[in-house]
């Protein structure tokens, strides 16, 4: 994990001035100050009071849109060019800038507050021979500080001494790397001697030379020079900031790195800003709009040149030319004038509105009760508020397994003992009874050592055990003896098991509840409470598990002196080694195993064998020889094990359920119906991964074939991939079809897209990490991608975090599809960051995944709601918004273009300047916001009912370049209508009292009113979901418009601000004319009619899924049936294997006793969280209780 973090952190957090080596002396501030190391104050805030305004403005104007508007503003200040008053640009710009500034400001105030809080934490520092409580920010490099239990580590420290024996301390690193298990650090013996003697510590003058500040969490190199002797320092001696001290009364440390130099701060580099594909498309569009704008301006400028040449000169008597302006120069000026007028094609409010919409849709995610998990009181959270619409376009999901698909809880579910199956409830007719939460549980109260959390429903098994059935007792005795679990007993009777794998924990817990309580172990013995009786077995050998053996055995001597070998392992392996006498039992057990496998359970066969003491003596000797052999030790041991694990007697089998999270198969089914491909990337071993694949319906019996790629060389991997591909598509081309294109801003991005290849039948692929490493090489990645993308399901097992990210990158690179990664652990961080959207499961495994994710929630099943409901709606809304927004602004602007032909291309506006100012900000802002916050085509239930509704998002159907062109054409039509209908209707006409009406002001009023009404009706057509808010905003905006024009065109306004409101009386004089209203009606109808006819025809002739569902909703007028929740029982003949754990077992550790250390009695549990899978791979320090002060319970 650490290496991964450092990999990610490499790009960031570099200092300008490279520090070559850090050199410091303890307790010598003067000496250390000479190096000017950073002190321990941290600063994450960006601004202070004085720098806020200039810095923030500078940052804001770096954005293209803002800079553009600033440029426009400058243009407007040139009187020859200015075609619009300054306020038309200033008002929106100031509004936008101040909104952003307010947001940035409040963010920064929060950061200041956090900084202050952290910087003002108190810690005890050794200054001038005494301990003083100082603020964190005053701590300096070279200080010695004292930490107490549960305190945060102040800075990166060199551990000097601790309260615990052997100078050990325990720390929790959850904040740093997300791992919740405790880690041990140990001080050097030489410094450990200082203990807590202040005097000695104050006189400590060791000099440290170490590496410069860096971001590698797992590495530290340096030396300590003390009294002329050099001691080497490594990561074991260093406490990093961000950790928490646990289970240690106190410790002393020497500050090595402070504040910004600490590894924590060095690691929190800037995360790359994720942008959505719509964002990128929008950038491209905005750029092409600029081009379009230039073309329009150019046409008008040329027109102006011609006009000036032909007409202007003759018209000079009425309108004298400006001095020194000839026709070409006038054209040049006009070009810029039109740039100002037509700027509304790229409205500044677009960006603000987009952000508001995204924020709103993020809040919906936070507020959703159906994504709230009551058990852990966790609501869903949209941690990034700018990616919502991309949730509606996901094509690939990359999922972690442990903790994401599964709960990471193993439960002992069923067992078959001596040919009889237990765990199933049958009613009188012999039918299976569905087990649910209400089913009565077996009462284990007779056993005071039972685990209260364990539950089992079949009473018969308990009865048999208590009756004293020897086979059943042997069965549980085996489970209690044959394992590598560590017990921990904090209080008498409260046992905790530290299991290497959750499977083992589940089995030992089952034995415990059925009266065979594994109590304690020493290297030579195992103590078990058998039906209330304490029995100590002598442990003679542990024949450990590994991937080849797929079994583990123990050889124990009972108190009576009987030697027995107990073995558990994968059924196929065990069955090979059975005594022929159990063939009958084998058949029955096989049947049971098949049944269990069909239920998706993880099975294990159990067997035992009595051993002749003489043979054992001899075997032990040979074993000793083999285990001390210098060469081929492994092989020799294997042979020995093979030899003794023979002729076993079958006891039965167990079935453990790797509990899936609720609703996982249904969610996966729903998502795959929505054409989303799900790839599972897991660190688990192949069998486990496959098994989970089957139980969550990703792999199915009826699939045409499941390819398993596990080869050891590059060539083999390639061959296997190719074979799989040819099988799936025998007639397919050998070379992939790659579409090369350029995209992005200025077409700088080269993209290669591999086309999807159709396949008959359903296939799946399972590939292991080893093969994946080869397949991800440059020359083979295409092969991998093609083969994998042909499969319905892809499972990658035993992959490293880095490989997870590589797989995501591969798909991102060649598929140009939107990817989503979901995971819960620190090992998923890389892929969460790599994918377009990262989702964190806020679960048991620390917060690292959540912290780097964009969205987080507690259960995998919420993913379908996030995508199929929220994502779809967000995408729909965003696209509707963009289409409509571009429509309304293009229409608005194009009218100016047409008017240019009638006003001598003089850059005269059609509308009142105030209308231009307020159009986007007031008149049309709220209705379109309401549209994009409330609109939904069909409600959430229907969205679940028809996952196909998700498809348009994946295909970018709602907003693409094509849709954009369509919008532009639509606006072109509307603007023609909006200009030429009023033009023709008003041509040479007069009022009903003979007075003027075709004056510029009346015409402007008419044109702008027509425009507003037309775009409002268009909005109405686009709205599918009319809430009262929509109605209110739409009608409200129209009312506001009329109120504003009557106010602005009133006598009072004119008399107060004569030059700003010259339109006095226009509203009163125009709007009382019937032909004005008739013109408005005609333009509105003409704008809308073709759209209605077109849409109606399209629904009629080429209905989309969406149209069909909407039609159905309307027809049925009922809620859809609630989604099916019945989990279908799989009928499968597939047998799942035993999953011990990733790594080789630590049987040798158990017997060697090396890791069984002392433990003080008072200490609370170290490993409260037993289910962390990371705990399995981390080196851990286990302790047993029997070396403590209290005597063990053994007889």
């Amino acid at each position: 994990m650490g290496s991964l973090l450092s990999q990610l952190g490499l790009e960031c957090g570099r200092k300008e001035v490279k520090e070559e080596e850090r050199h410091l002396r303890a307790n010598d501030r003067e000496f250390n100050l000479s190096y000017e190391y950073a002190d321990n104050a941290i600063k994450t805030s960006k601004y202070n009071i004085f720098t806020f305004l200039p810095l923030n403005l500078f940052e804001q104007f770096q954005r293209l849109a803002n800079a553009y508007f600033l440029f426009l503003l400058c243009l407007q200040l040139i009187p020859e060019i200015s075609s619009l008053s300054w306020f038309t640009t200033v008002v929106p710009l100031v509004l936008v800038l101040s909104m952003t500034m307010a947001k940035d400001g409040s963010d920064d105030i929060n950061r200041h507050r956090c900084d202050r809080q952290v910087n003002n934490r108190k810690v005890e520092v050794l200054i001038d021979g005494e301990l003083r409580s100082e603020k964190w920010m005053d701590v300096q490099v070279g200080d010695i500080i004292k930490l107490e239990n549960n305190q945060f580590v102040t800075a990166d420290l060199l551990l000097l001494s601790s309260s615990e024996p052997l100078n050990l301390i325990y720390i929790e690193t959850a904040e740093l790397d997300g791992e919740t298990n405790l880690k041990v650090k140990q001080a050097l013996t030489v410094t450990g001697e200082l203990e807590d003697c202040i005097e000695k510590l104050a006189n400590f003058n060791g000099e440290v030379r170490c590496e410069p500040p860096n971001n590698r969490l797992d590495k530290f190199t340096g030396t300590l020079t003390l009294k002329g002797e050099m001691y080497s320092l490594d990561n074991e001696r260093v406490l990093l900031r961000g950790c928490t001290l646990r289970n240690t009364q106190w410790c002393f440390g020497l500050v090595v790195f402070g504040g910004p130099d600490t590894k924590l701060m060095q690691n929190c580099g800037k995360t790359t800003l994720k942008r959505t594909s719509i964002d990128r498309l929008m950038n491209v569009l905005v750029l092409s709009i600029f081009g379009f704008l230039a073309v329009m301006c150019l046409i008008l400028a040329v027109g102006n040149g011609i006009w000036e040449y032909q007409e202007g000169s003759k018209f000079a008597a009425f309108l004298p030319k400006q001095e020194g302006v000839n026709a070409p120069f006038s054209a040049f000026l006009t070009f810029w004038s039109y740039v100002i007028i037509l700027n509304t094609v790229v409205p500044i409010s677009l960006y603000v509105s987009v952000e508001i919409i995204r924020l709103g849709n993020s809040f919906y995610i936070d507020w959703d009760r159906k994504m709230y998990y009551p058990k852990s009181d966790t609501p869903a959270e949209a941690r990034t508020t700018t990616l919502n619409e991309e949730l509606g376009q996901i094509k690939y999901i990359f999922s972690d397994k442990t903790g994401t698909l599964t709960q990471n809880i193993m439960t002992f579910n069923k067992c078959s003992i001596n040919g009889k199956s237990y765990g199933e409830l049958l009613d009188f007719s012999g039918q299976r009874v569905e087990i649910n939460e209400k089913t009565e549980k077996v009462d284990f109260s007779w056993n005071n050592l039972a685990d209260p959390k364990f539950c089992f429903h079949d009473h018969s098994l308990v009865e048999v055990v208590r009756e004293g059935n020897p086979e059943v007792q042997a069965f549980f005795r085996l489970l209690a003896l044959c394992h590598t679990v560590m017990p921990e007993e904090k209080k008498e009777g409260e046992l905790y098991y530290q299991a290497q794998s959750p499977d083992e924990g589940a089995l030992v817990t089952a034995a415990r509840n059925f009266g065979f309580v594994f109590r304690s172990r020493t290297p030579e013995s195992i103590t078990v409470v058998e039906m209330g009786e304490l029995v100590t077995y002598e442990l003679l050998a542990v024949l450990d598990f590994n991937n080849v053996r797929k079994r583990m055995s123990v050889i124990v001597r009972s108190p009576e002196g009987k030697l027995t070998l107990y073995c558990k392992g994968a059924d196929t392996i065990i069955f090979e080694r059975l005594n022929p006498s159990c063939s009958k039992l084998k058949e029955v057990t096989t049947e049971h195993l098949n049944e269990y496998a069909g239920d998706g359970l993880r099975t294990l066969a159990l067997a035992y064998k009595d051993i002749d003491p003489k043979y054992m003596e001899e075997w032990k000797l040979r074993h000793h020889e083999a285990s001390t052999a210098m060469d081929e030790r492994e092989e020799k041991l294997d042979a020995l094990y093979e030899e003794i694990e023979k002729g076993l007697l079958l006891l039965g089998s167990t079935a453990v359920e790797d509990k899936l999270q609720d609703g996982v198969p249904q969610t996966i089914e729903q998502l795959s119906k929505a054409d989303i491909k799900i790839w599972v990337l897991t660190g688990d071993k192949q069998e486990t991964a496959e098994n989970i694949g089957y139980s969550c319906n990703m792999l199915r019996e009826e699939m045409t074939e499941v390819f398993i790629v596990s080869a050891n060389t590059a060539e083999e991997v390639r061959k296997e991939l190719q074979t799989a591909r040819r099988k799936m598509r025998p007639d397919g081309p050998e070379e992939p079809t790659v579409t090369k294109s350029r995209s992005g801003l200025f077409c700088l991005l080269k993209t290669e897209t591999v086309a999807d290849e159709p396949v008959d039948g359903e296939y799946a692929m399972v590939i292991n990490g080893h093969s994946l490493a080869f397949a991800l090489e440059k020359d083979m990645e295409m092969e991998l991608l093609r083969t994998a993308c042909m499969c319905q399901t892809v499972i990658c097992c035993r992959v490293t975090p880095l490989q997870k990210a590589q797989v995501v990158e591969l798909v991102k690179k060649y598929k140009q599809a939107i990817t989503l990664a979901i995971g819960d652990g620190a090992n998923d961080v890389s892929m969460i960051k790599a994918a377009h959207i990262g989702v964190g499961i806020s679960g048991q495994e620390g917060m690292q995944a959540v912290l780097s994710s964009d969205f987080s929630f507690a259960q995998f099943r919420y993913l379908q709601r996030l995508l199929l409901v929220h994502g779809r709606w967000s995408y729909l809304r965003m696209c509707k918004f963009l289409r409509y927004f571009f429509y309304k602004n293009f229409t608005f602007t194009f009218v100016h273009f047409w008017y240019g032909f009638f006003c001598g291309f003089s850059a005269q506006t059609v509308y009142d300047e105030w209308f231009i100012t307020l159009y986007n900000l007031v008149y049309t802002a709220l209705p379109v916001l309401a549209l994009s916050l409330f609109d939904q085509d069909v409600n959430d239930r229907w969205s679940f009912q028809y996952p196909k509704l998700y498809a348009p998002g994946q295909l970018n159907q709602y907003f693409s370049k094509r849709a954009f062109v369509y919008t532009v054409l639509h606006s072109g039509y509307s603007s023609l209508v909006l200009f030429f209908i009023p033009w023709a209707a008003m041509y040479d006409t007069v009022r009903d009292d003979g007075k003027d009406i075709v004056d510029y002001q009346s015409f402007a009023l008419l044109a702008q009113t027509c425009l507003l009404i037309a775009v409002s009706i268009q909005l109405g057509l686009d709205t599918h979901y009319w809430t009262s808010v929509n109605q209110f905003f739409l009608w409200g905006s129209l009312c506001v418009y009329f109120a504003v024009i009557f106010t602005m065109y009133s006598n009072g306004m004119f008399l107060i601000f004569t030059s700003s409101f010259p339109f006095i009386g226009t509203a009163r004089n125009s709007l009382n004319q019937p032909n004005v209203w008739l013109t408005m009606l005609l333009t509105s109808i003409l704008c809308v009619l073709p759209v209605v006819a077109y849409r109606f025809l399209r629904i009629l002739l080429w209905p989309t899924v969406n149209d069909k569902v909407r039609y159905k909703v309307r027809q049925d007028k009922v809620l859809p049936p609630a989604p099916r929740r019945v989990q279908a029982r799989r009928t499968s003949t597939r047998r799942s294997g035993y999953a011990f754990s990733h790594a080789q077992g630590y049987g040798d550790l158990v017997t060697s006793g090396r890791f069984l250390r002392w433990t003080p009695k008072s200490r609370p549990a170290l490993f409260s969280q037993t289910d962390s899978p990371l705990a399995q791979t981390q080196p851990q320090f286990y302790r047993t209780i029997n070396e403590g002060g209290e005597p063990p319970l053994s007889p």
Partner: protein, 373 residues
Amino acid sequence: MASNYNAKEEDGHQPAAIGHGGAGTVKNKKPDNTAFKQQRLPAWQPILTAGTVLPAFFVIGLIFIPIGIGLFVTSNNIKELEVTLTNYSVWLAIFHPCYNCSQSYSWNSTKPCTCSVPFSLDQPFESNVFMYYGLSNFYQNHRRYVKSRDDSQLNGDKASLKSPSKECEPYRTSDEKPIAPCGAIANSLFNDTLELYYIDPNGSRTAIPLVKKGIAWWTDKHVKFRNPGGNDNLTVVFQGTSKPVNWRKSVYELDPSDPDNNGFINEDFIVWMRTAALPTFRKLYRIIHKKPNMTPTLPLGRYILEVTYNYPVRSFEGRKRMILSTISWMGGKNPFLGIAYITVGSVCFFLGIVLLIIHHKYGNRNHSADIRS
């Protein structure tokens, strides 16, 4: 053991089913169950179905066609007569009585040029008749032209009178005195004088009384335009200002006979100052009021239009017209609206029929509920 997937939890419509047991429980992070936050606001969800679209088309058609016919008939009933004063597009212009005036005349000439244009009415004009002058190819909507005025000055602001806005350049000052009214619009005021005579069958000329008041908007006359210092003694008020370059007389001499029509509130001036939206426009010049008795306002017969030709349009190849027109409830003559309504109405109706046919033929595509779930 295998806990079953709780459907209720997914179902927001049964909110009571979840939670740790109603009121009184510890406050948790559970989101509020409001219709807004859960996106369950009651809403009307219209869709385009044959049931709504087709009737809409027919109804629009049925409404538009009568309106169109009404408009068309009204427009046709309006009597309008256009007399061309200058027309450069027709080569016969040379035979026009005003040809000489239009050829020779420029802003600077001092001698007035007059011409008389005879015309005849085929039918009598009833009720009030409005007399317009029309200009074509005159870019009153040119940006530089439109803004070349000072509204404060025109509103009687004394400071602006002495120092007009910069927008008025180059007609801001003349001989180092401020121009009142300043700007290009005022400078190019239409200054032809039109007089109308009826020629009796016996050959004698009767002058038709032309009313020059009531031709401007009330708001313009009473709010937007005001003389500085009220209406008394404009000569004094306008002292120290200069008349616009092209004007022959000062602004306070526009109508010395009527103080309510002089200076900035001269209605001819106000009408001109309301700039036109399009390069071809007409402006109200005079009103011929209905006679109290039953005789038509303008009986049919021959008329003579006496033009004092001051306004040069030759330079920009403009066309100058005089228009006599009656009006109706929908204003002046403009057949466009009527025709447009009839056309749109018919198209709607036709489209309705076409869509109906298509609907009958293919309409059941939608009904087949073959949606893959």
